[in-house]
Point group: C2
Chain length 246, copies 2
Amino acid sequence: MSQNHKITLMYNGARYGGWQVQKNAVTIQEELEKAFSTILRQDVSIIGASRTDAGVHALNYTANAFFDTDLEERRILSGVNAVLPEDIRVKSIKECDEAFHARYCAKSKTYVYQIDTSIYGDVFKKPYVWRFKYPLNFENMQKCTPFFLGRHDFSAFMSKGAQAKTFEREIYECSLTRQDDMITMKIRGNGFLYNMVRIIAGTLVSVGRGFLSGEEIPQIILSKERKRAGITAPPEGLMLYEIEYE
Amino acid sequence: MSQNHKITLMYNGARYGGWQVQKNAVTIQEELEKAFSTILRQDVSIIGASRTDAGVHALNYTANAFFDTDLEERRILSGVNAVLPEDIRVKSIKECDEAFHARYCAKSKTYVYQIDTSIYGDVFKKPYVWRFKYPLNFENMQKCTPFFLGRHDFSAFMSKGAQAKTFEREIYECSLTRQDDMITMKIRGNGFLYNMVRIIAGTLVSVGRGFLSGEEIPQIILSKERKRAGITAPPEGLMLYEIEYE
C-alpha cells in the first residue's frame, strides 16, 4: 500500500465551484489532483476534510492522499505550488499513519464568517468578507450566539439539496466580535449541515437588522423549519478556519 | 474662502504610480481629484499628507481639500466611492479648521512593512506583503530595531532622486514582530526620507540573511553612505498605517 500523507492548504475560493470534483465547474480538489499527479507522475486522489461550497475560502484545510515517491516533502511542496493556480497554496505535506482520513478522523471544524459593515468597504479584506452596508445592532446579535451552543437538530439551518442522513450537530463554540467596522463570527462544531454556517450568520444579521428577535432562535431551532430562520449569508464571507484532529 | 475638509482614505497602491499627480502614470491624487470634482461639480485640489511611492499601500491616509457644497458628508462619501476605482476608498470626510494642512500639520507617520516568509505565500495577504522565501534569522533582525530610534541624519537610508533639504529625522518607535510566517516591522517617526522605510526594512532583511551584522548599523547611520546599508525592500510590502496629528 502506498504511503499516506496529511496535506494542509489554503485557498481563495472565489473562482471555484467549491471543493469537490464536479462537472461544469473548476474545483479545488480537481486542481490539487492535477497538480499532485503532474509532480508525482502518478494518479493521485485527494481526500478532503469537508465539501466547502462554491466561493467559500479556507485558511487551513486538511486533506490526505496516498502516494509513493522518492521526492523530499519540500520538493513536492514547491513543485505542487508551482503548478497550482496562485489562489490555492499547499502549506505542508507530511507522511502520516495509513489510518488517517481527513474527513472521518476530524473531531471538529472551525469556521469564521466576516462581515464588513463599513460604508466604504475595506480594499484589503474585500475578497473574503461580506460587505453589508445597512446598520446592524451588534449587541442584539451577540446575545444570540449562546443559543446555538450544544447538541441540536439543526434542520432549520440547512438548505435543501444536501444528502445528510442525520440532522443533529454539536456546536462547541460560537462567538461574535467586532473590531472597527468588521464583525467576525467564529463557530466550532463536530460538523455542519449544508449551508448551516451561512444560515446562522444570516440569521444573526436578520436579528441585527431587527427582522427577527434573538429570543425566537431556540424556537426556530426546535421548529426544524428552514423558512423561520434568517437568510443564507453569501459565500464570500465564509472561511474554513481550521479542522481539528485528536 | 471655501470650507476645509479632512479626508481619510485607504488604497491598494499596486496599480498606481504613487500618490502625487505626474505624467505617464495614474496616481491616487489624480483619481481622488477627478472623483471629488465630478461629485461636487467644481475643481477640487487634494492636499496629501505624504508622497507614497508607486506600489505602496495606505490603510489610513489623510488628505485635505477646500470646497463648498450643500451635499451632506455621507452623500459626498458614497458619491466619491461610487466614482473611484475599487482599490481606492474614502473612509471619511469631515469639515475641519481652515488651518488644517494634511502635510504640514502631521506630527508623525506610522508605516508597517510586512514580509511573508512562508514557503507557500499567503493567498489573502499576498497583495500587501513582500514574499521572501529565504531563511531569515528573526532574532538577529529584532535586535537591530533600537539602533534606528532617536534623531539621526538618515542619509545612508535614502535613495537618490529626492528633494529633501534636511536629512535628520526622528524615529519614535521601531518594532519587529512575528506571527507564524509573517514578519511585521512597525516604524513611527516625524518624517521619512525617500525610500527610508523600505531601506530600513531591506537592511533588517540583509541582517536576517547574515549579509550584514546588526552591530554595524550605528556606524552605517554615521557614515551617511547609502551603499553601506542594505537593499531597498520592494514597495508591495509597505503600508502607510496612520498619520498622527495633535
